[in-house]
Symmetry: C2
DNA sequence: AACAGGGCGGCAAGCGGTTGCCAAAAGTTG
DNA sequence: CAACTTTTGGCAACCGCTTGCCGCCCTGTT
């Protein structure tokens, strides 16, 4: 394995060119624009490159070409299993397209998000903002200077993939009412979360239409550790069922309710959201609004890549809605007969 | 916000230099080597840079300096919560040190791992290999040309962070024997996993010393979906307790055992490994050998950064052992009295 | 007053590629 | 075979930044 050249460092395009007896420009073209060079030449170059174990420097490449072949994925919290699936989905799709993923944890902070967007403008060809905490104006500004796709953060200013939780909220309400529940509590997530606002709004509207008695508690940080506070608050409302911002919070509530001796679903029904890892094996298994999260990630990548492709500029989709459905497990049951 | 220069693209060092009335070299030094320039000059430059919203191009910077300020983290499976914690731990520490993390999923394949190592040699200043599937020879080769730290894959050829599961295996065995178990089964993980080999070896040695009757099943893919096969195999051995390669597999087994009506822990005790997300809220909550995974990630970063620092070359630690302990929850109990 | 030395800033040569432009070679056509 | 088109490869100018080297100027020393 010839991994180093005469100078002892990794081989460069010049080493390849010298050994193949051509100019560097020819090597460059042979490798990234194969049709531009004669077949025999190209094959010779490829052979030499392989022998030398030549790997083009992506830095140098991007410096001169302006493209980095990397896209950045900004998530509020890498710890959250919900984003795991997004990470995985985008990772797959990007790899298939020859792109590198740059993962950034913005720690639920819009400042960090804006900062990353700014700092990485040269580093990435585009950005996927998962559950962005930015304002519309900030998104507009960002989208004006770089390719952006948002996930679960609709905005007129950038193409978006939304997971249709409102649809699932309706299903959840139907499920709960058919079980006889009439006092239902919405357990809210972060105040700055767009999805949270959406879910609450749908919940409120639909509940009113059905003449249900609703309440709302929160906001809570979407972590299992916030579950205790959330559970206590929900119990205090006197509701017999909760629709919870996400599964993390719901799982935390499950634990707290057990501690307090409140049986799920006999005394209280719980519906989560997202169907994350763990929702199927917690105790009891969680009824949840399942989202094709990984697929959402893949779709976001496609939309971003389409944006990047000069050929079909403008023709690309601006909005993708991912269908959701209610997955009924053990955490919901008939309303307690008082 | 002046985000673009006269040419309409992001401002470069030249724009800053022009506006500040100095040479680009001075700007460069002012920004990355502050002591090298006069204070007044530096402040003027900083002011202009801020006004212009100037962000240095990391590509250009690394091209000329040779450093990328990025390190790559190679994990076998981004989906596995175990690696989540490593991702998080390294991410934190790297960010603090001003480095970018490049996350690569090697899909449990040594080929992909070797490939990434090669392809990214220029992209990253160093590599952290989590649970590497590479051979000793491959690690040696890689370590000879780049900075490397391995996690849970000891090798004389590269600095390593190991999580001391053997220690925990001893604790687990003590726990199980004190509960009266004498027929214990080890449920194995991937054949190519170094930790798996380590755990099995410790298990075997310690069991022999204690005169226990042991068996072994596997290898199994460390996913919950393999839990069914693993559970069935384990049951067939007639063991009353299992020590399982990791929590993922253990959780999968829990589900299967419930389906089959085998009660945990009354009929069968289960001990997992890693204490991942979910281990505390599965049903029953899993007794597991808890590892300070996130901390392992942080330590790995420190060791890598030390390697990179020319000042203390050679003086850096070659091995860090992270202590583990048994966390007893609900999945272990007294041996069934037959 | 002459000189040594340190602080500070500029010049210019890269780093490893890409790409517009040009010219030579090869192929086409009548 | 001339005139013309197409293919193919080389030249050289960048891309944005770093850094070795040089020289200017200001101080301090003798």
């Amino acid at each position: 394995m010839a991994e180093t050249n005469a100078r002892g460092s990794a081989p460069t395009i010049r080493d390849v060119a010298a050994l193949a007896g051509v100019a560097t420009s020819t090597v460059s073209r042979a490798l990234s624009n194969p049709d531009r060079v004669n077949r025999a030449t190209r094959e010779r170059i490829e052979k030499v490159a392989a022998e030398l174990n030549y790997v083009p420097s992506s830095q140098a490449r991007s410096l001169s070409s302006g493209r980095t072949n990397a896209i950045a994925l900004l998530v509020p919290d890498v710890t959250n299993p919900f984003y795991f699936d997004i990470i995985r989905g985008t990772q797959n799709q990007l790899k298939a397209a020859g792109y590198t993923q740059l993962l950034v944890d913005t720690e639920e902070s819009s400042e960090m998000e804006a900062d990353a967007l700014q700092k990485m403008q040269r580093t990435a060809d585009g950005f996927i903002l998962a559950a962005s905490r930015l304002t519309d104006a900030q998104i507009l500004e960002a989208a004006s200077s770089q390719a952006i796709v948002t996930i679960n953060r609709s905005s007129a200013n950038a193409p978006t993939v939304v997971i249709d939780t409102p649809g699932a909220v309706v299903q959840a309400l139907e499920h709960l009412t058919s079980l006889g529940h009439s006092r239902i509590c919405y357990v809210g997530g972060p105040a700055s979360s767009w999805s949270n606002a959406k879910r609450w709004k749908t919940f409120e509207d639909e509940s009113r239409d059905r003449g249900l008695s609703t309440s709302r508690v929160g906001p809570f940080t979407p972590k299992t550790t916030s579950g205790a506070a959330a559970a206590d608050a929900a119990v205090r409302t006197g509701a017999t069922a909760c629709i919870v911002f996400n599964d993390l919070l719901a799982i935390g509530m499950l634990q707290r309710l057990r501690e307090r001796g409140i049986r799920v679903p006999e005394d209280m029904s719980i519906v989560g959201c997202d169907d994350i890892f763990g929702a199927d094996f917690c105790n009891p298994p969680l009824t949840t609004m399942a989202s094709p999260i990984e697929q959402a990630g893949r779709v976001a990548v496609s939309m971003l890549l389409a944006q990047l492709d000069p050929l079909n500029s403008g023709s690309s989709r601006r909005l993708a809605v991912m269908p959701t459905h209610l997955t009924v497990r053990g955490s919901t049951g008939p309303a307690p007969s008082i």
